[in-house]
């Protein structure tokens, strides 16, 4: 009997899919087996990726093939990697602190600079550019629509920022409350935030429904394809 590879992999995928779906009736051994299998395979796959796609081609192979100067240059990251490995030992963990600190510092610098030049400034300028009502306002209805859109953008932006304003004053009874106008704007901002979260949840639900359709379609296709 000749068993094809597609049949084996398809059967494994089908069983694992059914095992995951079995969580609908509660936690059971089939679901746990599928979950543990996924975790184990993922860990092994990540280790192989780290070796075959990072350490060996980017560090060790050049170190072996390169000349003295290149080796000297590669010795620095190799030494840094060795120091980071010290983090696994409580006694030697302090040795890995400098390399870790270097990575953290560089990462923070890259992220912050990227956020400023790639998000903060462009988004602020985009919000400012949306306010001239001349563009796209054709006719009275167009102007009103543009005015409504810009006004909604303005109110949404300010009220959302006000929601995250945590400056408060101590009242007579000792409780800390924000100023009244900030409180009112924050209440409006909470509506925008709730709407955004609702949209995100709808996206999650949409993605889940698509995944459900894909998995059920796979199962049906596997079962219907068995005779063939």
């Amino acid at each position: 009997m000749n068993i094809s590879t597609d049949l084996v992999t398809g059967a494994a995928a089908f069983l694992i899919t059914v095992g995951i779906f079995s969580y609908a009736i509660g936690d059971n051994a089939l679901f746990r087996t599928a979950a543990h299998l996924f975790v184990g395979v993922s860990a092994g796959y990540l280790a192989s990726v780290a070796w075959w796609q990072v350490l060996w081609p980017d560090l060790l192979l050049p170190f072996l093939r390169a000349g003295i100067q290149e080796r000297a240059a590669l010795a620095v990251p190799l030494f840094g990697a060795a120091l980071i490995l010290m983090k696994s030992s409580p006694r030697l963990s302090r040795l890995g602190t400098p390399a870790t600190a270097f990575l953290a510092g560089v990462s923070a610098a890259v992220v912050i600079s990227g956020a400023i030049t790639g998000t903060l400034m462009p988004q602020s300028m985009a919000a400012i550019r949306a306010f001239p009502l001349t563009s796209g306002s054709e006719g009275e209805g167009g102007r009103l629509a543009a005015l409504f859109q810009v006004g909604l953008l303005l109110v949404g932006t300010i009220s959302t920022l006000a929601y995250f304003h945590f400056g408060a004053r101590t009242s007579v009874d000792g409780s800390s409350r924000r100023p009244a106008f900030i409180e009112a704007m924050a209440m409006v901002g909470s509506i925008f935030i709730a709407t955004t979260l609702g949209v995100l949840f709808a996206g999650v639900l949409s993605a889940a429904v698509v995944a459900l359709i894909d998995r059920i379609g796979f199962a049906i296709s596997f079962l219907t394809g068995l005779p063939s």
């Binding site: 009736i25 990540l46 985009a126 993605a207």
Partner: protein, 767 residues
């Protein structure tokens, strides 16, 4: 007239003078250092301290020459012994002390040296000196040496003669003085080979006796121990008490100078009558009893009278290095620099000032401006916050006994006192610092920074709140358990079964849905148009940044666009991902596009594989793709791959196709590639859950197109007339979303009805 030279100063004196008129030294014979008196009764051998044993041992080892030179000195203490040793004179003979302590007669064969008392008694008797005096305990004659007995025999018996000689009658001496004298013998008389010192001590004796003659009133010391009573009596005197210690050697004087107050305190009650000195008027300590507690008050010394010597010899000062004459001091500092001499003088003056302990309400210390400025405020704040009385410890005592005070207030006071006590180590052993006046006005200078007082009361009220917040943050919130789990489980099964049955039924039916997808959104349409505009065979970079769980949605969204692009422009593809599973998912994505099935690895497409480093890796790849990924997934050089021909930077790609389900990864790619993309088109194919967060980047023009979710995929598939699963699944997707919305709405409605029912019944909402 015959004259005699002073053996000490060399001054010529008339022959009939017994003492030098200049220095007061004895002219006819070398007077002994100090008289000795015995008060300790004979008894068992006392326990001799180690230092005394050592001294005795050293004395035994003295050579015969030293024995001949040994005088009648006696050892009074380690300090004196050390001083004598420092001088190196070897004049001590401790045998007499040993005999005294043993209560035995001198050893046979030992020559009885002329005792100081004997010599002095004879001399005084002969010369009528006013200072010679020997106080002995008449009831303990056996312990006296022969020389002492002889000295007593030489003393006149009649009171008149004794008074003429300056010797007090035992009957006229109060008992307490007798006790003091008796005790003072225990401290010993410092040995002094200098006749001048001895003479000086004798000169101050008379005044000391006068001071001791009038004990102060004592009314509250009945319950105190005897030694304390004597000490209090000595301190109660209005006149300055006699200096207990005879001017000793330099080392002793130095110690005395440094611890003047302590010596005064510690030796009170052990003063000897042999060597009273015209002491510097030291502050007196008055001890009174209040509510069972001994309260001590330090009084400033009375002003010196004109009759008192201006220069106090009894209290040596550091400026003179413990020397007794200004000449010695000049000789000592003749080789010292000016600054050192000046500092020594200054320290001497300051020491003199400090030795006179100031009263509690004294002038404030000289402090820096900033510290001076914040002192009063601190005190005022503390006193205000804690509602402290201004009466110091007595005020605390009164507050503690107040029955109306709460335990919390008492706790505040106790903690305040504890904080003060903890900040001062062994307060009794330290000189009392200058006290500042409590009601002193703020002395903050304009330049001093504002004080930052500790608002203890506010902190005390906020600490519980902070503790509560921390406790709440560290306490895991209990999981909300459904009230009717038996009813929830069937409901869950019902919803799951409905979704599966409807989806499976729609898939098994395989009928084309009459539902037509809505037109593609503007970002999706713009993305399609831009990708169609790229040049043929231009390099295209695909970043697969999504998880396997989102593969179905993203493949449905990206396949129509990718299929249209590959079919029209046949671009050279390069795949990369910062996710470990990304390279494989990218391969799977290409397999879903029929147009990509003719692509050959290394010729039409190259998979660069996993890009490590997260944001750092993205930044590095944006600045140099080939440097960041020098080899592809097959370990071949990326620079040699045909798809990456003429590609050295990110801007060399014709288009960048980002497929992601994470808004963070999309933002990272957008941020790090800003300014580095050049004219390359950036299109993002995002999951429906991440699209709302990526939408602003499209509106700001940072990305050129956005395809979100299955809806845009089905719309692009319909527009491009391509093949794919998006349109086939669109019916099921629509029905599944409708069913999900219905379930959500039904659950919401159910909860609202239950809440209304709960309110109507008056119970808790939802009960």
């Amino acid at each position: 007239m015959a004259q005699m030279a002073c053996p000490v100063c060399g001054e010529r004196n008339p022959d009939h003078h017994a003492y030098c008129r200049v220095c007061g030294s004895a002219l006819h014979e070398k007077l002994p250092d100090a008289p000795s008196s015995v008060t300790e009764p004979a008894g068992p051998e006392p326990v001799i301290p180690q230092w005394l044993k050592d001294a005795l041992a050293m004395s035994d080892q003295v050579s015969g020459e030293a024995k001949e030179m040994e005088g009648p000195g006696r050892q009074a203490g380690p300090v004196e012994q050390a001083s004598a040793s420092d001088r190196g004179r070897g004049e001590e003979n401790l045998d007499w002390l040993r005999r005294l302590t043993q209560g035995a007669e001198p050893r046979a064969g030992d020559s009885v040296p002329p005792s100081p008392a004997e010599a002095r008694g004879e001399g005084q008797a002969g010369e009528g000196s006013e200072a010679g005096r020997t106080e002995t305990s008449s009831d303990q004659p056996t312990v006296l040496g022969k020389w002492l007995q002889r000295s007593r025999q030489t003393l006149p018996e009649d009171p008149a003669s004794r008074s003429e000689l300056g010797i007090e009658d035992a009957s006229t001496v109060p008992d307490w003085i007798g006790d003091l004298r008796a005790k003072g013998v225990a401290a010993g008389t410092p040995e002094s080979s200098s006749a001048e010192e001895w003479r000086r001590s004798e000169a101050g004796q008379a005044q000391g006796e006068a001071n001791l003659g009038a004990p102060g009133p004592l009314g509250q010391d009945e319950e105190l121990p005897e030694w304390l009573v004597r000490a209090m009596r000595g301190s109660e005197g209005t006149a300055p008490p006699p200096q207990s210690a005879q001017p000793g050697p330099a080392s002793m004087e130095g110690l005395t100078a440094g611890k003047a107050g302590e010596v005064q305190e510690s030796t009170r009650g052990f003063e000897r009558d042999e060597a009273p000195q015209p002491a510097r008027p030291l502050p007196t300590t008055t001890s009174t009893i209040e509510q069972g507690r001994v309260r001590r008050e330090v009084r400033p010394p009375p002003p010196q009278t004109a009759s008192e010597p201006a220069e106090d010899d009894s209290l040596p000062n550091i400026a003179t290095g413990g020397l007794h004459s200004p000449e010695d001091a000049e000789h000592l500092f003749i080789d010292l620099p000016d600054w050192l001499s000046g500092s020594a003088t200054a320290s001497a003056s300051s020491l003199d000032e400090s030795s006179t302990t100031e009263p509690l309400e004294a002038r404030p210390a000289s402090l820096p401006s900033w510290l001076e400025g914040m002192r009063p405020d601190d005190a005022a704040e503390l006193r205000t916050d804690l509602d402290l009385p201004t009466g110091g410890a007595s005020g605390f005592s009164a507050r503690e006994t107040d029955p109306d005070r709460s335990s919390e207030d008492r706790l505040i006071d106790l903690e305040f006192l504890a904080s003060l006590a903890s900040g001062i180590e062994d307060r009794d052993n330290f000189p009392r610092p200058p006290q500042r006046e409590a009601p002193a006005p703020p002395q903050r200078s304009p330049e001093s920074p504002p004080a930052t007082p500790v608002d203890a009361k506010v902190q005390r009220t906020e600490v519980p709140l902070l503790d509560q917040l921390l406790g709440e943050s560290q306490t895991a919130a209990p999981l909300l358990r459904p009230r009717h789990p038996a009813a929830v489980r069937p409901l869950r099964w019902l919803i799951a079964s409905a979704l599966v049955v409807v989806t499976a039924g729609m898939l098994l039916n395989a009928s084309q849905s009459p539902i037509v997808p809505a037109p593609a959104s503007e970002p999706a349409t713009q993305a399609l148009d831009l990708l169609r505009s790229i040049a043929d065979l231009s390099p295209l970079l695909i970043m697969a940044e999504y998880a396997p769980a989102r593969a179905a949605e993203l493949e449905m969204s990206a396949t129509p666009l990718l299929q249209d692009l590959l079919a029209r422009r046949h671009p050279r593809l390069a795949l990369v991902s910062t996710s470990a599973t990304g390279p494989l998912l990218a391969e799977r994505l290409l397999e879903g596009a029929p147009a990509a099935r003719g692509y050959q690895e290394g010729i039409d497409r190259v998979n660069l594989g996993y890009l490590p480093g997260g944001t750092l890796g993205i930044s590095a790849f944006a600045r140099g793709p080939l440097e960041a990924k020098p080899v592809d997934l097959t370990l071949q050089s990326s620079a040699d791959a045909q798809p990456l021909e003429n590609v050295t930077a990110l801007s060399d790609f014709a288009a960048l196709l980002l497929v992601t389900d994470s808004a963070d990864l999309a933002r990272a790619w957008i941020e790090q590639s800003t300014g580095l993309r050049g004219t390359a088109v950036l299109v993002v194919i995002a999951s429906a859950q991440a699209a709302p967060l990526i939408q602003p980047y499209f509106q700001s023009g940072q990305i050129d197109g956005l395809v979100s979710g299955m809806q845009d995929g089905a719309s692009l598939e319909t527009r491009s007339s391509g093949t794919g699963s998006a349109k086939a699944y669109w019916n099921i997707y629509t029905l599944g979303m409708l069913l999900s919305a219905a379930v959500l709405m039904g659950a919401a409605l159910w909860n609202v009805l239950r809440a209304l029912q709960g309110r109507a019944s008056g119970g808790a909402p939802g009960a």
